[in-house]
């Protein structure tokens, strides 16, 4: 027997009814991308502001007040006066403040006598999301306070002018939302497929399907088609919301973006299928889908954590992760406007991984079916 589209289409139709009948899953599958783009879009801001700063001023002079003012008016800190240096440290211990400024007595006197007025700044090292940015701000506040209060403006032999390319305002949304296209596809494709097919095995209906005249390959194509459609609809949702609600630019080619999406989707559907063949139980399929599909897509794809900063072993490991390559394609399409040639490596790698994973999944599926 040979592959026939009509039979695959019949199975796809049956599967489509299945999905459409299950309102709950359908709502979740379509609601998830929308929900994720909105929460990520509104919640994420890397440019830290409103850091609670506990301040103890033992000097109580014009100078010390102006220093505190400089912190307050920078927009980065919310000043919260405390009664003693110990209370400042306690504020950090109790997570009420992320930083503390302790100005010793004699601060103004030190400055007026031509020396250096030193204040202590304590930072909370337990929270990675704030400590890095605050360290960056401190240097500039030091310079601003010295210029404003002591009229000190040292010459700078080398002045660095930074031009931020592709995201000039350092907008956190521009950084995060294109990556969500990858995350959303990863969840929908790998999880839904792995679970649906594992379910067929769990309740024995896979045997039933196999006893029909349909070929294994037809069954695969038929079963996966509706999920491919769901994935593409999810991708479309991400695109539309990103462009309308969050006004992201899209500088590249839509054709390439969609092509990358389809390649990635096909790879992840095959991965989901492979997982379901290997496990045949939904609870285990879910755990594996998470390990092999979703967690890498979130954490090892360069979504938030840059790949270049990882240790060498992980840098090479990410090369076999389809999510990494689609991440490149999605970001470059949105922000850089790269051409096919410029994204050649990513497309080539994604294509090769796609073929390999589909081949393994199809082989494993066929082999398991033969008596």
């Amino acid at each position: 027997m040979s592959f026939r589209w009509s039979r695959a289409a019949a199975i796809a139709q049956k599967e489509m009814y299945h999905v459409l009948r299950d309102r709950f899953t359908l709502t979740l599958a379509l609601g998830l991308p929308v929900f994720m783009v909105f929460t990520f879009g509104f919640a994420i801001e890397f440019n830290v502001k409103n850091v609670p700063l506990a301040v103890h001023d033992a000097d109580k002079t014009q100078t010390s007040r102006r220093v505190i003012d400089t912190f307050g008016s920078s927009g980065y800190f919310l000043v919260d006066p405390v009664v003693s240096p110990a209370a400042a440290q306690q504020a950090i211990d109790g997570d009420r403040s992320r930083a503390a400024l302790v100005i010793p007595g004699g601060f103004q006197k030190d400055l007026l006598s031509g020396g250096v007025a030193k204040a202590q700044l304590l930072l909370d090292g337990s929270d990675n999301s704030t400590v890095g940015p605050i360290l960056g701000y401190v240097a500039s506040i030091e310079a601003i306070a010295s210029r404003r209060i002591a009229d000190f403006d040292p010459p700078k032999p080398i002045e660095i002018h930074t031009r931020f390319l592709f995201n000039p305002e350092l907008n956190s949304r521009w950084f995060v939302i294109p990556g969500l296209a990858v995350a959303v596809l990863a969840i929908l494709a790998v999880l839904l497929t792995a679970l649906t097919v594992a379910r067929e095995w769990e309740n024995g209906s896979m045997e039933l399907l196999l006893s029909t005249p349909a070929e294994p390959l037809e069954i695969i194509v038929g079963k996966l088609a509706p999920y491919a459609v769901l994935g593409l609809v999810g991708l479309a949702f991400v695109y539309v919301i990103s462009r309308t609600v969050f006004a992201l630019p899209f500088r590249g080619s839509h054709v390439l973006f969609v092509l990358g999406g389809i390649l990635f989707l096909a790879t992840y559907l095959a991965l989901g299928l492979l997982i379901s063949v290997l496990t045949r139980r939904q609870q285990i399929a879910m755990q594996l889908a998470m390990m092999a599909g979703m967690i890498p897509a979130f954490l090892l794809s360069g979504f938030i954590f840059p790949i270049a900063s990882m240790p060498a072993f992980f840098r090479y490991l990410t090369m076999v992760l389809p999510a990494r390559w689609f991440m490149t394609i999605a970001r470059d399409s949105y922000l850089k406007g790269s051409t096919l040639v410029e994204m050649g490596t990513a497309f080539l790698a994604l294509g090769v991984l796609c073929v390999i994973i589909i081949a393994i999944a199809a082989r494993k599926f066929k082999k398991d079916l033969e008596p």
Binding site: T25, F42, D93, V116, K118, D124, I158, L191, R281
Partner: protein
């Protein structure tokens, strides 16, 4: 009580019958923690930097060489006449130094040393770090090569980073990953185990069996509660012995917080299972809860920065409180009033959620 014990025995057997499940439940959290503790870093490194090679421009070369010597940058390929913008666009370089016409050394001699830095800012965090690195390196070059002493600001801050003075990334990441792994396994697995009964039709059997609704729900959820609690010392051992994350507070307090937290997540899993009718639905429902819960917990993104409605949402997120407790107890030694407050909040949430899930479960049983 006897019925419950028998029920529990059956449930434990069922959950752990599959050897693959045993591996997944106990070994994967440790593997994942190890992987992510090693791989993920907020410390930016290996940024590909390009500068136009010019043998006459001593200062530019010094800045470039020192950049590459530091582990922060690597030298990017790109020929002599390359257009720096194109290099960054094509991805051959992440950042490029462009000296003023005639070279940086001459410009500095003229008193106008403007050095342009082009940075690919698609990754906001990376772009900010790169700018900071180049500033620091250029300051060092001014001091060492131009022999101009770094100006001492008349007003200066002595900065001390408490609890993690060397800014070890593992100290930051490990408590967060612990919190994430624990909530994922307990919520999703509890939900799936309960809906599985519905799916294969054994739920009706449970109803007709001579066990009360309370026994059913306790019997079904306690195993996952125990599995979650057993994971805590395992994961903690990897954190402390594998990554050297300090454990400055009391283990008993941490355990109390963890039990309260696992109670909330198991109750959430139960609630989801009462809405879902099959395992696929309950998994999707679980993730629909988990994504925002992880996002709003302060694990990767500061809560202080979120708009007000999101901030309120993060206060009712059990992950926020558990993560805050983990960080506070492990790194800071656990400040009394803070720990009490957040443990009480977690216990309160656990009680509310358990009551709600009992009620919902009873109605679905009838």
């Amino acid at each position: 009580m006897r019925t419950l014990r028998a029920f529990l025995r059956k449930e434990f057997k069922q959950a752990l019958r599959d050897p693959r499940m045993r591996i997944l439940l106990f070994i994967t959290p440790m593997i994942q923690l190890t992987l992510f503790g090693l791989a993920l870093s907020t410390d930016i490194k290996n940024v590909d930097l390009w500068a136009q090679p010019d043998s006459n421009d001593y200062l530019l070369r010094r800045i470039y060489d020192r950049s590459v010597e530091s582990q922060w940058f690597r030298s990017a390929s790109g020929d002599h006449n390359a257009d720096p913008f194109e290099l960054v666009r094509s991805g051959k370089a992440d950042a490029a130094l462009v000296s003023p016409p005639g070279g940086l050394s001459r410009a500095v001699a003229r008193g106008a040393g403007d050095l342009q830095l082009l940075v690919n800012s698609m990754n906001v965090l990376e772009a900010q770090a790169v700018e900071q690195y180049v500033r620091n390196i250029s300051n060092a070059v001014i001091e060492d090569d131009l022999h101009i002493k770094r100006p001492e600001f008349p007003i200066s801050f002595e900065v001390r980073v408490l609890y993690n003075p060397t800014l070890e990334t593992a100290f930051f990441m490990v408590p967060g990953v612990m919190c994430m792994l624990l909530s994922i396994t307990t919520i999703i697995l509890t939900g799936m185990s309960l809906t599985r009964e519905k799916e294969v039709g054994t739920f009706e059997m449970l109803i007709s069996a001579p066990v009360s609704a309370t026994e059913v729900i306790l019997g079904k959820t306690i195993p996952y509660l125990v599995l979650g609690i057993v994971q805590i010392p395992l994961v903690l051992a990897v954190a402390v012995f594998g990554f050297g994350v300090p454990m400055r507070g009391s283990f008993a307090v941490l355990l109390v917080a963890s039990v309260a937290f696992v109670c909330t997540t198991v109750a959430i899993g139960t609630l989801i299972s009462t809405i879902a009718s099959n395992q696929q639905q309950s998994t999707m429902g679980g993730f629909l809860f988990l994504f925002p819960a992880i996002l709003l917990s302060g694990l990767m993104f500061p809560i202080e920065n979120m708009p007000a409605p999101m901030m309120w949402a993060s206060y009712v997120d059990p992950l926020t409180h558990y993560l805050a407790l983990l960080r506070n107890i492990m790194l800071k030694g656990g400040e009394g009033s803070f720990v009490v407050k957040h443990v009480l909040i977690l216990i309160g949430m656990a009680v509310l959620l358990i009551l709600a899930s009992f009620r919902r479960f009873r109605t679905t049983l009838q």
